[in-house]
Symmetry: C2
Subunit: 150 residues, 2 copies
């Protein structure tokens, strides 16, 4: 793994760690208004998705799809948003965000202007499901990763 001095995703987890594998980790992000905001972070410092080898890209997107699938099963979102931007922190990370029609920004991207006030009650309801979600994510990611670590 290549660490880059000064890169916040090399020097720290980048959020509340949910699961760490050899090549990538999943964190829960503290993003107001979006209780089910997660990031999948490639452990090594690479800037662009196409900097990865094809094998690593497949590994990465298998994990992205798995996180998305578990979010869908556990939270029944109206949509999942995936994004790899990295303009501010050019260390490969995928935003994986469960979106709901009641959220403050729906149907706009979460980076756009809010469409309505936040719904604290529904946000709290979603947040209450995070422990079970994170347990499910750990189990599924660990099961998925097992063949790579043998």
């Amino acid at each position: 793994m290549s660490d880059l001095a000064g890169c916040p995703l090399c020097e720290g987890d980048g959020g509340a760690l949910v699961w760490r594998g050899e090549r990538l980790r999943v964190i829960h992000a503290d993003e107001p208004g979006f209780p089910a905001f997660h990031r999948l972070i490639w452990n090594a410092h690479v800037a662009e998705f196409s900097d990865l080898t094809e094998a690593d890209r497949e590994h990465c997107m298998q994990a992205v799809a798995l996180v998305e699938q578990v979010l869908r099963e556990q939270l029944e979102p109206d949509k999942v948003n995936l994004a790899s931007l990295g303009n501010v922190v050019p260390h490969l990370h995928w935003h994986v965000v469960a979106r709901h029609t009641w959220d403050s920004h729906w149907p706009a991207p979460l980076w756009a202007a809010a469409q309505r006030p936040r719904d604290a009650e529904r946000e709290d309801g979603l947040a209450a499901r995070l422990p079970q979600l994170h347990q499910a994510l750990r189990e599924r990611l660990q099961h998925w990763a097992r063949p790579f670590t043998q």
Copy 2:
């Protein structure tokens, strides 16, 4: 392919067609301020990335990475942004956008508020390179897709 009545990405190309394969197509989007905005659109109507089979997900992301790579080679962007949102049009499509430090929104996401006025001269300079970019995209995507159509 399953078409959905009323879905703009089932009923049309969704932009200026650059290349069409059996499973996906690449279009150039007319998005003011971002001359190098492309979308990779899955031809069949599926909403979420994890609705695809693993083989189709790999196929999809091979193409996303290839489009990103050609954009990097041809346009030397400061960053490429990838996103699959679909809140408004829930038909799987990937935004693949070449970002530059001079663009109106840098380093914010392109859906956020602008950070500065648009630079018409540099936008025009980027737009002038699109014919060559699109030719390169067609050649590379066609070469990549050949094994799948034999």
